[in-house]
Subunit: 158 residues, 2 copies
């Protein structure tokens, strides 16, 4: 099968693909390491707290939270259990759906997020936005939206 019909990457594409892998992985690992060091939470937990903080009543159905964070239900359940142990999130049964569950941001969770946010946002600026020109930032948004739309045409856009 090898070589037959396969559209192999040419050297330029290979270079682009490897640079993208290195950049995206490196950025996520750096931000994750900094959040762990400065706020005691991985980036995935930070994102859950952000989504809850933005929701009305600081609460979201678990299914909605999974969709917003492009996360699997099982991974989200694990994270929510850990966040509940920390006292940052509380899970309640859903009043309108007996099988559903709602995650609620606690006051302690809100305070943990408020303490973590300035340092994390500064990291996103330093490692991403400060490295790019305004034109490149615009290009990155259009490229990222095209890729995200392809992977999940129904994804929420906020």
């Amino acid at each position: 099968m090898i070589g037959v019909m396969t559209r192999w990457l040419d050297p330029d594409e290979q270079r682009t693909w490897r640079a993208f892998l290195t950049a995206s992985r490196g950025l996520m690992e750096t931000l994750d390491r900094e959040l762990q060091r400065d706020a005691g939470m991985p980036h995935a937990y930070y994102e859950i707290l952000v989504r809850l903080s933005e929701a009305p009543g600081r609460r979201l159905r678990m299914s909605e939270l999974a969709k917003l964070n492009s996360s699997s239900r099982s991974r989200l359940s694990h994270a929510a259990a850990r966040l509940e142990e920390s006292g940052w999130v509380r899970r309640e049964s859903c009043p309108t759906d007996r099988r559903g569950q709602v995650a609620v941001l606690t006051e302690a969770g809100f305070q943990a997020l408020a303490a973590a946010a300035p340092g994390h946002v500064e990291g996103v600026r330093r490692h991403l936005f400060d490295q790019l020109s305004p034109a490149e930032i615009d290009q990155l948004r259009r490229i990222s939206e095209a890729l995200a739309d392809h992977l999940d045409p129904d994804r929420p856009t906020t």
Copy 2:
């Protein structure tokens, strides 16, 4: 501290950052899932096999392999142990450095890579390159290289 001196993201930057997170995470998860399904290996293992296949004698020092894949030594050691169990990689002591170790791609490992490559490359095309115009692919390369250079000015560029 909140709000004081913090350069918060404006709505456009917020949108760019979230689209980038969704796209890069979604792309890696999709490629990883497809490689697991079609070739029985995660993307991280695939990358190790690729690097070894490109090296003279299909062998690399573990330290060099870690640098090429922007991987921590401990994560690479874990992956190498699993690849050795599969019979795809063999570890040898380094002839020029008694403390060092060399990873060698076995013939079975080469065959596993050769079997996995066409489907994986097709996935990279379908989920990345086919979604972008030639200009956007060029932009993505320059953006990724700027970010990667900032995170690791000494990174290898191939």
